[in-house]
């Protein structure tokens, strides 16, 4: 008997049928591997393969009642003990000092408001990616420059109610700041009126002579001395250009497949600032702007983005230390941290501290406080979780212990 030839189309149709039973990645792998030997296949062969794959997939799934949280905790915790010692020697070798290793891992899991070294990574779009000059131009546009960054000195004349601001021309050239920009910014921030602008040469601390522009600003009359000192600081903080919070921008290059492309690494973090100024920042790829501040991601891009970011950060730290931890453990942690729609930390002020059961909370940290408060409020504990049942010495609801039986009275 001659059977009809089995084609690629038939294979796709056959795999389509099991799309609700298998994850996409396995279906793709099946399609890839089976299409290589398609000439030798019949319909029943494929059916057999698929049903065997489904059987094995279901066998590999986690069983109901499995203590996945405990397994995840151990799987991340054990490699974590190996990290401790190595961390100290590797920190701070890079151009930008970045918190790595265990301290960084703790930072992510504790959901700290701001990371100790906020960093952004800004990728450029296809057009600008290979152009170093363009990358440097963008870096200058992004970098936050205040008067302080271009000033060589600032003095207050209390008698005449004047502030003398001396600008270093070389610094200004380097940062692409013009005198007009400074004067405009000063008047915009209502510091005072610019009386005069004079140029002269001045001796620098290093002994060289450099050209300096002196801007004399008359402050509003009748200002007290203490207010003037405050005003001095205000002048230094006047923004000239760039995006707030982005202190240093470094152009980095990567070579891949013979091509060199550039991206920007930024000290400081301001996602919203970048998104607000996209019109001026043509050349950056907004879909790939990254920050290591999880809370900022949650605020600007939403809770799902924060979940992904937590997974990426934790996996990045572990991988960098050469530790092989399965993503699924980290995914579970990230799922739990983002469960309530906000980023919660793992410890006392987050997941462990917000448990419903009094005994579970008391078993974690500050036992007496929780027991006392529960007593005052008259809280009840239904003993549904694992920890509280360990505390009272009952069978814990894990695996087969999860099953409950109820007897129906007067049934058939």
């Amino acid at each position: 008997m001659k059977t009809k030839k089995f084609t690629l189309e038939d294979l796709k149709k056959e795999l389509e049928k099991c799309s609700s039973e298998l994850p996409k990645s396995i279906i793709q792998e099946l399609e890839e591997k089976l299409s290589k030997i398609i000439d030798r296949l019949t319909k029943s062969d494929v059916e057999k393969v698929v049903s065997e794959v489904i059987r094995q997939y279901n066998e590999a799934l986690v069983e109901p009642g499995e203590a996945v949280g405990t397994v995840a905790a151990q799987s991340i915790g054990e490699p974590g003990t190996q990290m401790t010692l190595r961390t100290f020697h590797f920190a701070g070798v890079r151009e930008l000092n970045v918190t790595l290793g265990l301290p960084r891992l703790i930072e992510v899991l504790d959901a700290k408001r701001t990371p100790s070294t906020p960093l952004m990574r800004i990728e450029l779009d296809e057009k600008a990616k290979y152009d170093k000059a363009k990358a440097e131009e963008l870096a200058r546009k992004i970098q936050h420059v205040t008067v302080e960054n271009v000033a060589s000195s600032i003095d207050i004349d209390f008698g005449q109610q004047m502030i003398y601001l001396r600008l270093d021309e070389e610094l200004m050239k380097d940062k692409r700041v013009t005198l007009d920009m400074v004067i405009n910014a000063l008047s915009k921030h209502k510091i005072g009126t610019v009386e005069s602008v004079t140029e002269r040469e001045e001796e620098m601390p290093d002994g060289k002579r450099r050209k300096v522009i002196e801007v004399a600003v008359a402050v509003p009359e009748g200002l007290e001395a203490s207010k003037m000192i405050k005003l001095r600081q205000k002048v230094l903080n006047v923004k000239l250009k760039g995006i707030k919070g982005l202190k240093r921008v470094v152009v980095k290059e990567v070579s891949r497949e013979g091509k060199t492309y550039y991206y920007l690494e930024v000290e400081g973090s301001n996602l919203q600032g970048i998104f607000n100024n996209l019109d001026e920042l043509e050349g950056i790829d907004p879909t790939k702007v990254m920050t290591n501040n999880i809370h900022e991601i949650a605020e600007v891009l939403g809770i799902e983005a924060a979940r992904t970011a937590i997974i990426n950060e934790v996996m990045g730290v572990l991988r960098e230390q050469g530790l092989d931890v399965d993503v699924r453990h980290v995914m579970l942690v990230a799922d739990l941290m983002t469960l309530t729609g906000r980023v919660r930390q793992i410890g006392r002020h987050g997941i462990s501290g917000e448990k419903a059961s009094v005994l579970a909370r008391a078993a974690f940290e500050v036992t007496t406080k929780h027991l006392l408060e529960a007593g005052v409020k008259g809280e009840e504990d239904p003993l549904t979780g694992v920890i509280e049942n360990v505390v009272v010495g009952q069978l814990i609801p894990i695996g087969s212990g999860m099953v409950e039986l109820r007897v129906r009275h007067g049934g058939e």
Binding site: S25, I26, Q28, L278, P286, T287, G302, I303, G341
Partner: protein
């Protein structure tokens, strides 16, 4: 041609969010045999929830990219 304006929905980190209809919502809860608040939550003030117009009480379907399964579907219950 005018370039499409960037929204946060285009960002690499943001998976696809779909607002479920009343009927889909009912079916889902029936299938999972749970109350909506037993799902993970998403705040109505969440930037993505705001963009797709999700109101408290809705359910959002999220199609995530997963390194292990290729693609996974998750649901979040919109809370105030």
């Amino acid at each position: 041609m005018l370039k499409k304006k960037f929204t946060i929905l285009d960002h690499e980190l943001v998976p696809k969010h779909i607002l479920l209809s009343k009927e889909e919502k009912r079916q889902l809860l029936e299938q999972l045999k749970i109350r909506p608040e037993q799902l993970p939550w998403i705040r109505a003030s969440d930037p993505v929830a705001k963009l797709i117009g999700a109101k408290p009480g809705d359910i959002v379907k999220i199609i995530r990219k997963s390194p292990t399964a290729g693609e996974t579907v998750a649901y979040r219950f919109v809370v105030p």
